[in-house]
């Protein structure tokens, strides 16, 4: 009843998607959708398997930045030289805390961001201002990751589109990033809060010229904290500035009122404490660049 396809090229995958549209289920690592099939009665008309599509499994670097194929596993991200270097190291850090070793060997960057809700890998990618490249038989388009999520569990991906790759541009030299994930257990756990911060400084290493803060588990999808970012932009980087920004972050998030994992007030308390820590780390990382 359910058909299964294993396209050998991106083009083949796109024509299948064009044929089946909403009836198609794109199968990458499967760590989420197999559960939906087994336990939530999900019955698509067809499965389109991209887990072994070579054309989607890569981590490449060029003069602009890095490009990650949608079927790249989280495990690959955890230790690749390109994702463990400099500012991009937050991608590897997030990958290392993700799920469990077994899950990391299957879950993919494309599959995880398409899940939208609590996507862990979206957090550093958002802070690094990643873009998502979508393809279909109609052509290609690129969407900033910050505009990719459409609400709990949904993205702007059209039913006939395939996420092809996620790209991150090289940040300017005097910048730093940091990632903090807080969960009760040290493995096999969802985060109570995941935070990634990115700061770029001026040539004196004193003024913030760019700031991005991303979080998950504090809203229906991973988010950027725009108010918090604005409070940092153009200002003198200092402990006090960061402390104030962290307070704004605690107010800016919209944690679930009925969450049984953590109360809203605790999430806000964590948001304050950990955003502060995260920004301090990013700032230190940025300042270190002068020495290297």
């Amino acid at each position: 009843m359910v058909e299964y396809f294993k396209p050998s090229s991106v083009e083949e995958a796109c024509s299948l998607l064009d044929r089946f549209k909403e009836g198609a289920l794109i199968l990458a690592g499967g760590t989420d959708v197999v559960l939906d099939i087994r336990y939530n009665g999900l019955r698509p008309r067809c499965l389109i398997s991209i887990s072994n599509l070579e054309g989607l499994k890569y981590i490449r670097g060029d003069e602009n930045g890095i490009r990650i194929g949608a079927a790249t596993t989280i495990a690959a991200l955890a230790k690749h030289p390109l994702t463990t270097r400099g500012c991009f190291n937050v991608i590897a850090e997030a990958a290392r805390c993700f799920g469990s070793p077994q899950i990391r060997n299957r879950a993919t960057v494309g599959g995880n961001i398409c899940r939208a809700g609590c996507s862990d890998i979206a957090v550093p990618l958002l802070a690094l201002d990643a873009t998502v490249n979508l393809v279909s038989i109609r052509g290609e388009r690129t969407v900033p990751l910050s505009r990719f999520f459409a609400g709990g569990g949904r993205t702007v991906r059209a039913p006939d589109e395939l996420v092809k790759e996620v790209a991150v541009n090289n940040p300017p030299p005097l910048s730093g990033s940091a990632y903090i994930r807080f969960s009760y257990r040290r493995s096999l756990d969802l985060p109570i809060i995941g935070i990634c911060s990115y700061l770029a400084l001026d040539s004196d290493l004193s003024r913030v010229v760019d700031a991005r803060i991303a979080m998950n588990a504090v809203a229906p999808t991973p988010i950027r904290l725009k108010n918090t970012e604005s409070s940092l932009m153009g200002k003198e980087a200092s402990d006090h500035l960061i402390d104030e920004a962290a307070k704004i972050a605690a107010e800016e998030i919209q944690p679930r009122a009925d969450s049984y994992r953590a109360s809203p007030s605790y999430r806000r308390a964590l948001a304050y404490v950990l955003t502060k820590q995260c920004l301090m780390k990013a700032l230190a990382a940025a300042r270190e660049k002068r020495l290297s």
């Binding site: 807080f182 009760y184 257990r185 040290r186 493995s187 096999l188 756990d189 969802l190 402990d239 049984y260 994992r261 953590a262 109360s263 605790y266 308390a269 964590l270 404490v273 950990l274 502060k276 820590q277 301090m280 780390k281 230190a284």
Partner: protein
């Protein structure tokens, strides 16, 4: 040969090669798959059940409901639990119907086709509410249920009381008046789950005469047999329970009937074998859980640290049915009576019915929760009196020869040794770095004390002509090493190599009566039974050998299959030589006795099944680090000094200690089953129900386990029990350490980061916490 040897479990090889067969892996020819339809409501009247669509679904062989078994009730002590909900459902997850079909998928699909009408009733999720005057009875027919044990005569005149237990000694009211200080506290524990890794499963097969055979991973085969027979009103010889040699953990979750009744009901109707395997979700929602406890403690203490009066009121949140929680009410009280000598003592335990998952047996049997309360209270009292917590305990410990609060004279020692050694190993009293930026460190100690259950156990030992020693015991090996201990004891008694001992599969048609693996009792009662059965078999061997060797039985001994005269060892005969073959038919072998079959039953002295005069100890000391900015706790060092009496297998005792501490850490910091307002467990899975992973426990270098030996002469070779006590004091030790670290007393477990953070914010004031943290943070990243 046998005892006090650290040998790996005898079935480890099968387990590491994947050859071990668990019930979950079993299949029978022609087998059908059973699935259970469960109540979505915490309390509702069933207005109707329509199974017609399900019955005609492709692949379905039969559907069973209460209509097929109208009076099928079961229980242990109180038979209040219907096989399928009769007219009322009392918790989310209660079985309402079951389907047997040719595939799991067909069975699952058929479940959706069973239509059940419900009329919701008010549900009680809070035990104090359920037992308050005016509450509606969850069991209106309570007084008509069959009872098998004498319960307390105490009638509190309150609704929804499942069982009551009381211990009284002296005069607590007078004690409070005479005390220098009265300290009152309230403690609570969350609902938690045992989480054995193999889900519950039963495969039932019925023959033409209605004899039922069930393969199951139970830990109490004879009790299941008893309950099944009672429930179906069939004679005991008609039920056979077989437990495959390898069971994936128990921890109390497999005590009493679970999937067996449903499998039997389906097999009886389908007339084909039926396998009912619970999903992990069903294991969480519809087996049993650890009772949430509310404990009020009031102590009257003297300035010198003596507790002269103690009043404890315990409310057990029992859930919808009694299960073995009926017994937890009384046996759980041992958590407060095992360790200390208190002149005036009053404990009142009330088990309330509520409309949620059923409270049953969980390692500790109710004593763990009570010891969290008692061992936390000891520290609270110590702090108020300005006495060191270890010293306070020493001043109140029950010594050997003294009577406990229930009038039983303590025959064992070990408490003081364990406590002092644990203190020494953690560096108690020595200075250590307590402040490190936003991190605070503290040390805490707690004494676990557990009496063990001493129920009857029988064993048979058969010696074969090839010198193999077969042991028939119904003791189930859940991973704790029961079969290994049995083999070691037999090897010891016969002075034979371990490899010559074979422990046979548990099969109630063959292996004799055993109450089951619970209450830290296996080494003690099974050990005794096996040892005595060995002696009986040896006597038979010696009787024959004496004639052949022309010696007296008293002068004989045996080793490695050879029986010899003690003062003239060359005068000997091998066991194999005692057997002959029937020459004509080349059949045999047999001895002059025929088969050498030794048998014994170990029975407790008197009617008291509890060895209240024998106590095992586990003193745990811990050093923790609290991150005051988030409430996270890290365990830096953990010490566990255990006293199992004589350790039959020190390696296995260590294994129990390590596993027990880990389980204790889970209960203390991570684990809780959460109910929503509709009485539904919202986290019946391993992501949101958090048992410790390998990263959540301290590293090897930070854990010390020591085994102290204080032989108990009534135990086999001096052994006591160890399975439960190793997990009982962990929560209090951690709570005491957190208090030492941040000056905040947590009275609820689990002590999650959120709860610790909120307690810090409340007690110290947010300003104190944040200021301290900021002072620590300044300049540090």
């Amino acid at each position: 040969m046998g005892i006090k040897k650290s040998i790996p479990p005898i079935d480890a090889l099968e387990k590491v090669t994947g050859r071990a067969k668990y019930c979950f892996d079993m299949k029978l020819q022609g087998m059908l798959y059973g699935k259970v339809k469960r109540s979505p409501h915490p309390h509702a009247r069933i207005t109707g059940i329509d199974t017609s669509k399900a019955e005609s679904h492709a692949g379905v062989w039969c559907v069973v409901t209460a209509k097929d078994y109208p009076q099928a009730y079961y229980g242990l002590g109180l038979s209040d639990q219907p096989l399928f909900a009769q007219d009322v459902v009392r918790y989310v997850g209660e079985p309402v119907a079951a389907v047997a079909a040719e595939s799991e998928r067909a069975a699952e699909e058929a479940l959706h086709l069973i239509e059940v009408g419900y009329e919701e009733l008010p549900a009680y999720l809070n035990p104090e509410e359920a037992i308050s005057p005016g509450a509606q009875p969850i069991h209106p027919n309570y007084s008509r249920y069959k009872r098998e044990y004498v319960t307390s005569d105490l009638d509190l005149g309150l609704p929804n009381v499942c069982n009551v237990y009381q211990v009284k000694k002296g005069d607590v009211e007078r004690g409070f008046l005479e005390a220098d200080l009265v300290v009152e506290s309230r403690f609570t524990t969350a609902m938690i789950a045992q989480c054995p890794l193999e889900p519950h499963v039963a495969i039932a097969d019925v023959d033409l005469e209605g004899n039922i055979t069930i393969w199951t991973n139970t830990q109490t085969p004879y009790r299941v047999k008893h309950q099944l027979c009672q429930m179906l009103r069939i004679p005991r010889h008609k039920v056979r329970i077989i437990v495959p040699p390898h069971v994936g953990g128990g921890f109390g979750n497999r005590v009493n009937m679970k999937a067996e009744g449903i499998a039997a009901a389906l097999a009886l109707k389908a007339k084909r074998p039926v396998k009912v395997a619970f999903t992990r979700e069903e294991v969480f929602t519809s087996t049993t859980v650890r009772h949430p406890y509310i404990v009020y403690i009031k102590d009257g203490v003297r300035k010198d640290g003596r507790i002269i009066a103690r009043y404890i009121k315990v409310i057990l949140d029992g859930g919808a049915y009694a299960d073995v929680g009926y017994l937890v009410t009384s046996a759980g009280s041992w958590g407060a009576t095992a360790a200390y000598d208190i002149p005036s003592f009053h404990l009142l335990a009330i088990r309330a019915y509520t409309n949620h998952a059923v409270g049953g047996a969980y390692r500790g049997f109710g004593a763990s929760q009570l010891q969290f309360a008692v061992e936390s209270q000891m520290d609270i009292v110590a702090e108020k009196l300005g006495i060191d917590p270890v010293e306070l305990r020493l001043r109140n410990l029950l010594d050997r020869g003294e009577e406990n609060v229930e009038g039983k004279r303590l025959l064992t020692t070990g408490a003081k040794t364990c406590l002092l050694r644990a203190a020494e190993l953690i560096g108690w009293g020595k200075p250590f770095e307590k402040v490190k930026g936003g991190l605070r460190r503290g040390r805490g100690i707690a004494l676990g004390a557990r009496q063990f259950v001493r129920t009857a156990s029988s064993a048979v030992v058969r010696v074969l002509d090839d010198e193999t020693i077969e042991v028939w015991s119904s003791a189930t090996d859940l991973g704790q090493g029961a079969r290994t201990i049995i083999a070691q004891i037999a090897a010891e008694e016969f002075k034979a190599p371990l490899s010559s001992v074979k422990v046979r599969t548990v099969d109630t048609d063959v292996t004799p009566f055993e109450t089951g693996q619970a209450g830290s009792s296996t080494t003690f009662k099974v050990g005794q039974a096996v040892r005595l059965a060995c002696l009986d078999a040896k006597k038979q061997l010696f009787d024959i050998a004496a004639k052949r060797l022309d010696a007296c039985v008293e002068d004989l001994d045996m080793e490695n299959g050879k029986i010899f005269v003690k003062y003239e060892p060359e005068r000997s005969i091998r066991v194999s030589e005692l057997f002959t073959y029937i020459p004509v038919m080349r059949a045999g072998p047999f001895s002059e006795y025929g088969e050498i079959i030794g048998r014994a039953t170990f029975t407790p002295k008197g009617e008291d099944y509890t060895a209240k005069e024998a106590v095992s100890y586990s003193a745990q000391a811990v050093e923790v680090e609290v991150d005051v900015s988030t409430g996270s706790v890290r365990i830096l060092k953990l010490v566990n000094v255990v006293d199992p009496g004589t350790p039959i297998n020190p390696l296995l005792v260590e294994a129990q200690a390590e596993g027990g501490m880990c389980m204790g850490i889970g209960a203390a910091l991570l684990e809780e089953l959460k109910l929503d307002k509709q009485g539904r467990i919202v986290n019946p899975d391993f992501t949101d129900y958090k048992i410790p992973t390998a990263l959540d426990v301290p590293t090897l270098g930070d854990v010390i386990v020591e085994v102290i030996e204080t032989p108990y002469e009534q135990g086999p070779y001096g052994a006591k029990g160890i399975g439960e006590v190793v997990t009982m004091p962990t929560a209090a030790a951690i709570a005491n350490a957190i208090f030492d670290a941040v000056g905040v007393r947590l009275t609820h477990i689990p002590m999650t980061p959120q709860r610790i953070y909120e307690a810090l914010a409340k007690e110290g004031g947010a300003h104190r916490v944040l200021k301290e943290y900021e002072d620590g943070l300044g300049g540090e990243v």
